[in-house]
Amino acid sequence: MLLLGNEAIARGAVEAGVDYASTYPGTPSSEIGTTFSRIAADAGMYFEYSTNEKVALEGSAGAAVAGLRSFAFMKHVGVNVASDSLMTLATVGIVGGMVVLTADDPGMHSSQNEQDNRYYALLGNMPMMEPSSPAEAKDMMVRAFKVSEDLEVPIFFRTTTRINHAREPVLLGPVEDHHTADFQRDPGRFVTVPSVARRRHPWVLQQMEKALQVAETAEFNFIEGEGDIGIITSGVAYKYVLDAIDRMGLQCKVLKLGMTNPLPKGMITEFMGSVDKVVTVEEGEPFLETQVKAFAHDAGLSVQIFGKDDGHFSRLFEYNVDIVEAGLASALGLEYSPAEIPALDVKAPSRPPNLCPGCPHRASYYAAKVASKGKAVYPMDIGCYTLGMLPPLEAADIEISMGSSIGTACGMSRMLDEPVMAFIGDSTFFHSGIPPLINAIHNKHNFVLSILDNRTTAMTGHQPHPGTPMDGMGEKAPMMDIPTLVRGFGIDFVEVVNPYHLKETIDVYRRALQHDGIAVVIPRMACALLTDIYKRKIGKEIIPYQVDQEKCTKCHVCVERFGCVALTLVDGVVTIDETLCDGCGVCAQVCAFDAIQEVER
């Protein structure tokens, strides 16, 4: 069956009889969740979208200590959120099998940094597996649950974008039965007061010794080929190595590592002893390279080891066949001429992402900028609404992590003279906006917080969140009301406004800026993409807008200040692309000359 990497991963968990799965959506891991959401009820398992990755991890831990098989998965930076619990859970261990998946994003296709999460496995003493393709990921998932159960520790499962978002034929295996929850009280193990913690650290080191035996014999660690040159590789880089050696006609031996913590020291040492030169090929940081050099040192081997430290390979971005060929040639002193990319006389215009036509966030940003005359500082948060940073809105000054808009607003509003207007999405607010908001109230900070409520987790593909009436199983859920929640914190300026009503929204922001203390503005309007789907479903036509050229004074405020992508400016004339226009009508309110009107039907 042709499966997306993320579907293959979900399938692997199902084949292992997974009982409990949890996540917070994050690219490139998101489709694992959408797959579970679709199949969980039929597969007889429980799946939830948790409020954040830490909660997702803890939920899965709770199931696994009760003897069930559980699966917590997240994008790489999500592991940072979960890490507080993960690092201690690793020493406590679990009873049923538990897999914790990190989806790393080399090249940062949709991420704020490029951290190599393999170091978490070292930091936490967790056995780690790293698949090189969707098909292998499926098989490895099944094995990971067994190893986890045997060793009583969670397995860290590291994927990258090119595994999660690749598609290939996958052979399906049998599906194991589910397990019965049976929690055996054991506070001497699971309650980590210092006296317990002191016993857990030696225990986990002992488990890692056992894990080493698994690594030495695991079917995912293997050697292919013959020759005096040895390549040590893991993850998708292994596939690029195979393509590269085919193309170069390189005679070599390849040690492919699928279990990469603990590394099979004996196997690697023997491999290095059998060749004249070793090249390590891995995306990201020199994780294998540093360790295999230590192994060579311990064994007194004089073999040359090439990789990133000597500059043959980069620590940056995603690899591909060309990069691996160039790196191998450079390390081995071979001739290499890269494929020549033709220079072009005509240039493709750039096509960067932007807020969609009809996106309610564009209206909110426009209103906030008008009310503050563009003279505030604008801390921003993580989601598709981050695109508010683009011109002409330019509504973002700092954004570092989920929830950071409110945290940074605390420091900035305390120390700066300018007003501070922070923006956070609804799902992000539930994820990690609440503690910093409570901090802001307690410490009497002074800023305007917009909670952009578009009724969904839009960026990752419209997953539910605690403010929506549905959960990950597709069942009805209590809908958490954001204004009630923040009023409960004691904030007295809380206003909900429809951002499509521009004048009213600007007015709310003006009053919010006058307010002393924390003012919360909640622009509430469903994501335009969701509204479109709904309109199609009920057969409601989207009526686009058009420009009345007689009334248009060519002031270009609509294009230069508002900048909806459905507006088109050619030779000084503004028109509206009917196929793109979503009919929200906000541009008509931006126009001071009443020159934009609904198309008459």
């Binding site: 949709s110 393509d243 005509v346 096509r351 992402p353």
Partner: protein, 200 residues
């Protein structure tokens, strides 16, 4: 023996549906294959690039200048994909432009379509440029550009497995209400490429 095909275009043009049909048919034909979808940040309007690799290949990404075919759903996007196409490959390009907002807002210029076609011909001898939207409209299916392009790819005879396999999988990849129109668009695409690649 391998067949690397790069698909490039704009979000919303149906590229992912087209490659899913292609991949399913290659799989049914018993071919080794791997494909990779490059997702952008925007749900709508951004560049979409997908690599389909069939035959004796390993990794999910096509090496530079080695694709046997490029299927460009949009003319300026064809320019963005040229690093992948082999000098001996074939480029199928839809000449109907979709202006990015950088152009519509007057920040950048969109190149002349004929100049694009000339430029492509300078890079790779086999360029088939045609208005796929027009063909799709003629079959009564203006949203069928993806099926026209997929049909055109099949019509080149460049696929290393029986071309009818692709048409045969469409009923399982496409919703019933759109199937007839999709098949029409697909056949029109096959015909368009066959005009150029007849029995050589």
């Amino acid at each position: 023996m391998k067949s690397d095909i790069i698909f490039i275009g704009v979000g919303g043009q149906g590229i992912l549906t087209a490659i899913s049909a292609l991949g399913t048919s290659a799989n049914k034909a018993g071919m080794n294959l791997i494909m990779s979808e490059v997702h952008g940040m925007a749900q709508r309007g951004g560049t979409v690039e997908a690599h389909v690799r069939i035959g004796d290949v390993h990794g999910p990404l096509i090496p530079d200048r080695s694709a046997e075919a490029m299927v460009a759903f949009e003319p300026s996007e064809a320019l963005r994909g040229i690093g992948k196409i082999s000098p001996d490959g074939v480029i199928l390009v839809n000449t109907n432009p979709i202006y990015p907002f950088t152009v519509s807002l007057g920040q950048e210029e969109y190149p002349n379509i004929e100049r694009i076609a000339e430029e492509l011909k300078g890079i790779c001898g086999n360029v088939v440029a045609f208005d796929a939207l027009e063909i799709a409209r003629e079959t009564g299916n203006p949203r069928g550009v993806n099926m026209v392009m997929l049909g055109a790819l099949v019509g080149t005879g460049a696929l290393p497995f029986p071309p009818e396999t692709v048409r045969d999988v469409l009923p399982e990849r496409i919703k019933e209400q759109f199937l007839e129109a999709s098949l029409k668009a697909f056949d029109a695409g096959v015909g368009k490429a066959a005009e150029v690649f007849t029995q050589d």
